[in-house]
Subunit: 154 residues, 2 copies
């Protein structure tokens, strides 16, 4: 099975998103965008990523409609990468990465950044629920339609 | 800034999670685990990934406590990779990848798999809220503490 067969033609939406965004730089660029960064040089400074790598990732994100490229307010040659509505709808993804890291990848007492609302309160924990609000554990979920996963019978 | 300085010592939980899991194979392995796959050969068949790549990713996931490695039920040499509680708490991450893909990466009429609860109903949309339940847009959020992002002034 080739890469393209696995991901691009897959009927699994997880796989399609991973195909587009399942890369450390993609995810860090999107994090930075939610933090207010919009200029190439500022992404570059924040992430310490090679310019050619950054340029290729930003081009993919513009082509995919995650960013729109707009003239920067002060005019001149600078352009700003601005999250579109499609890009802004990645907020649950970034928050889920953040919350898992908060709970699992910090020792007690380590310095940690927080994501807070305008009143300074941390955002609520993301919880997977059914449509009537019942909290769902992974054991109660099933993937239907599309490709059938190989299920372990052990 | 070196890679290690950016990610491993960062105070940003998004970056630490991305450092561990921000890789297409990591994310696809975790998706498969939620779909019930637990054996090396079944991950290999499902993903079409090279065995050495799969082995290295699974080792990292076991070392990180996302999977525990247990004897398969039928005995014999086979071991099963089972999501720990820490691993199961990645459910919102996988669901956020899925829901963004569902909304943005499928044309009308394309075959798509669905994640449903035990009654066959799709899981509810993940929404970022404040602790009192108010839906939060990204513009209303701020990252405090830890490293200061480079903010664009344009």
């Amino acid at each position: 099975m080739t890469y393209e067969e696995t991901f691009v033609t897959t009927t699994c939406p997880v796989a399609r998103t991973v195909d587009l965004l399942g890369d450390r730089w993609m995810l860090m660029i999107i994090r930075d965008a939610f933090d207010g960064i919009s200029r190439f040089s500022d992404f570059q400074k924040s992430l310490g990523v090679a310019k050619n790598v950054l340029a290729s990732r930003l081009k993919i994100l513009v082509d995919a409609g995650v960013f729109s490229l707009i003239p920067a307010k002060e005019g001149g040659a600078y352009k700003a990468y601005q999250l579109t509505d499609k890009g802004k709808s990645l907020l649950p993804l970034i928050v889920s990465l953040r919350q898992w890291g908060e709970e699992n990848l910090f020792d007690d007492g380590e310095a940690i950044s927080h994501l807070v609302d305008e009143k300074g309160l941390p955002v609520a924990k993301l919880v997977v629920t059914s449509q009537n609000g019942t909290v769902l554990k992974s054991e109660r979920l099933q993937r239907i339609g599309g490709i059938s996963p190989v299920r372990d019978k052990s």
